[in-house]
């Protein structure tokens, strides 16, 4: 633990000069402009799988497509190339960010570490073949390919956790897994890791980094959205009474608020609660976008969301997609306002992530034989 602390302290006080900010932000803004633009997606929607492979093979994904073309074909080639390129891009962003920015970026991409760690732990416990796991690992964060290989070669859960010494969430992991495996452990660990992930991100954002304060409202917004989503999910699919352990603290809305909302059965009370959460304008915008109609008002959004709530169903995922688009849009807005801060970095990382998601959605949609209009609904543009 001491070693991690010293490493972190050292990085915190590593001076990030204004020139470094300008350098990195400009570089990433240029990279962002090289991402696939909207009109290209429209072209992609009308292609078949082989044309899509050819198309991405002529863009940023050329190397990955060439490398994998020998062993994979069709949809798995596309997905493999996308994932690999995604991991490599994240790694390269981490490597070019200086000082404290480096640390924040690494922390921001730690969600992929959580992903990989959980995957490795589960594969070890349930005896899933290493080859299958290797295909779905995304070494985009602190855990690089070599370390992922090392973790995969470990024989027990304790060995895997020992192999993760130096990872910022190692302490949390150790605390939970120390008692050995029991049913439901991995879900608990995963939740705890994500909680700590947000906690660390908040601490770093408040540490005086440039753009740190501006990122806080964005992070709070993200946490609120995640919490509201999970509130609906728990209501739709669970019988537990206390939902506080599943709510991420740190958002604009306190976990207590969600606990109070959870058993609400009265429409007025529910809508009042949603108004208090200031979620209705967001849902209204989302609905406007889905229906391509600006006449949609808050009452319509409230009606739809109340209907889902009263029927104990999860919100429509088209609604969630619209909210994600809105979230990305907000990030763009604030990153334009602070062009030389941590925001352009995060904005690029998120845009890259959604580029992968969009390309994958198009390819998968084509594979399932959906028409272009249906696929378009799954894109985050």
């Amino acid at each position: 633990m001491n070693r991690i602390k010293s490493r972190r302290t050292k990085l915190h006080y590593f001076p990030v000069t204004p020139t470094a900010y300008i350098y990195i932000c400009t570089r990433l803004t240029v990279r962002k402009s090289r991402l696939i633009p909207r009109d290209q997606y429209m072209r992609l929607l009308n292609m078949d799988l082989n044309q899509i492979i050819r198309f991405i093979g002529e863009t940023e994904y050329q190397n990955e497509v060439n490398e994998l073309a020998g062993s994979l074909t069709g949809i798995s080639l596309i997905e493999g190339a996308l994932t690999r390129n995604f991991a490599e891009t994240y790694q390269s962003v981490i490597s070019i960010t200086p000082g404290a920015l480096h640390e924040l970026t690494e922390r921001y991409v730690a969600r992929w570490d959580i992903w990989n760690v959980m995957l490795v732990l589960r594969s070890r416990q349930f005896g899933i073949p290493v080859d299958q796991v290797r295909q779905v690992l995304i070494p985009a964060g602190w855990i690089k390919e070599a370390r992922a290989e090392f973790l995969l070669s470990q024989r027990t859960l304790a060995d895997i956790i020992d192999g993760l010494k130096g990872w910022e969430l190692h302490g949390v992991l150790e605390q939970y897994v120390a008692g050995g495996y029991h049913k439901g452990l991995f879900a608990e660990v995963e939740n705890a890791l994500y909680m700590s992930f947000y906690k660390n991100l908040f601490r770093d954002a408040k540490s005086g980094i440039r753009g740190g304060n501006t990122i806080l409202p964005y992070l709070r917004f993200e946490i609120d959205i995640t919490n509201i989503r999970n509130l609906f999910r728990l209501r739709a699919g669970s019988r537990i009474n206390d939902i506080r352990p599943y709510m991420i603290p740190g958002g604009n809305l306190h976990p207590e608020y969600f606990q109070q909302m959870y058993p609400v059965e009265d429409k007025q009370q529910f809508i009042a609660g949603m108004q208090q959460a200031k979620i209705l304008p967001i849902l209204m915008e989302a609905l406007q976008e889905i229906r391509c109609d600006n006449q949609v008002c808050e009452a319509d959004a409230a009606d739809i969301i109340w209907k889902r709530w009263s029927e104990r169903k999860t919100p429509l995922f088209s609604m969630m997609m619209a909210v994600t688009r809105l979230r990305l849009h907000r990030l763009d807005q604030i990153s334009r306002r602070y062009p030389f801060s941590v925001l352009p970095i995060l904005s690029y990382l998120e845009h890259k992530r959604y580029e992968m998601i969009n390309l994958r959605a198009i390819a998968r949609g084509k594979q399932f034989g959906l028409d272009p209009d249906s696929i378009k609904r799954y894109l985050i543009l």
Binding site: S76, E79, L82, T83, R111, I114, W115, M118, L119, R122, S123, F126, I128, Q132, V133, Q135, V136, I138, K183, G184, F186, A187, E188, V189, E190, N191, L193, Y194, M195, T226, R229, N230, F232, R233, L234, A236, G237, S238, R239, I240, Y246, I248, T314, P315, F317, M320, M321, I357, R360, A361, R364, G365, Q367, F368, L370, I375, Y378
Partner: protein, 223 residues
């Protein structure tokens, strides 16, 4: 109409035949009642099974739709992670129950519908579509189990109806008429035998009387 030729035209044979006929009629009555009962049960079950089948198809289509959506939103990576998280596997138990003497299977499943927090995946790291897909598959599995049980019951009943109706028809059109014919034949035969006996005795008596008369005449002549 055919009749049985292997029965001896004796009183004992006739009695045995009559008891067989009685038994056949009784069996016919019982089997046709059973057949009616089974047909009624099939008529009652068919709409239910049809409803279950329609539900199964609807749920299957929903999972097809959701799996496409989930693959589009989460990709192989997200789907595989969610799939690897499964800790509790659904189990199926098979038992049997008696329906009109037909052994039909009863299929029950445990751990089918699970609470969202018991599915094994973390709530914070997965998205809505995984929940929806898992729900859809759980519902599909529950419907498959229900449908499999009902369909197997229906199939068993139909096979048995075919078997029993063949038997009932055989009793109705072959066994009972044959036995009746045989009984009539035997009765006629026994009457014939009786008549033959009577006439034989009559002739014997006549011959004996003739012999006696002849004897008496000879004696008279001797005297």
């Amino acid at each position: 109409m055919a009749y049985q030729t292997d029965v001896k035209p004796t009183r004992a044979g006739l009695l045995a035949l009559r008891s067989r006929l009685r038994m056949a009629r009784k069996a016919y009555k019982i089997l046709s009642m059973k057949l009616d009962g089974m047909i009624m049960e099939v008529i009652r079950l068919t709409p239910e099974v049809k409803k279950e089948y329609d539900l199964l198809i609807a749920r299957f289509n929903r999972t097809r739709f959701l799996i496409a959506a989930a693959y589009m939103m989460e990709g192989t990576v997200g789907m595989t992670v969610a799939a690897y998280s499964v800790e509790v596997r659904p189990e199926i138990e098979l038992s049997q129950r008696n329906l009109f003497g037909v052994r039909v299977p009863v299929i029950t499943g445990t751990n089918i519908n699970k609470d969202v927090i018991e599915r094994g995946y973390g709530l914070l790291g997965t998205s809505l579509v995984i929940d929806d897909l898992a729900d859809a598959y759980e519902d599909l599995l529950a419907t498959i189990i229900a449908y499999a049980g009902s369909e197997a019951t229906l199939k068993h009943l139909l096979t048995d109806i075919e078997r029993i109706s063949r038997r009932v028809k055989a009793l109705e059109h072959l066994v009972i008429p044959t036995l009746e014919e045989t009984e009539q034949y035997l009765s006629r035969m026994r009457d014939e035998i009786e008549r033959e006996d009577t006439s034989r005795l009559f002739h014997v008596k006549r011959r004996k009387e003739a012999a006696i008369e002849l004897e008496e005449e000879r004696r008279k002549n001797m005297e």
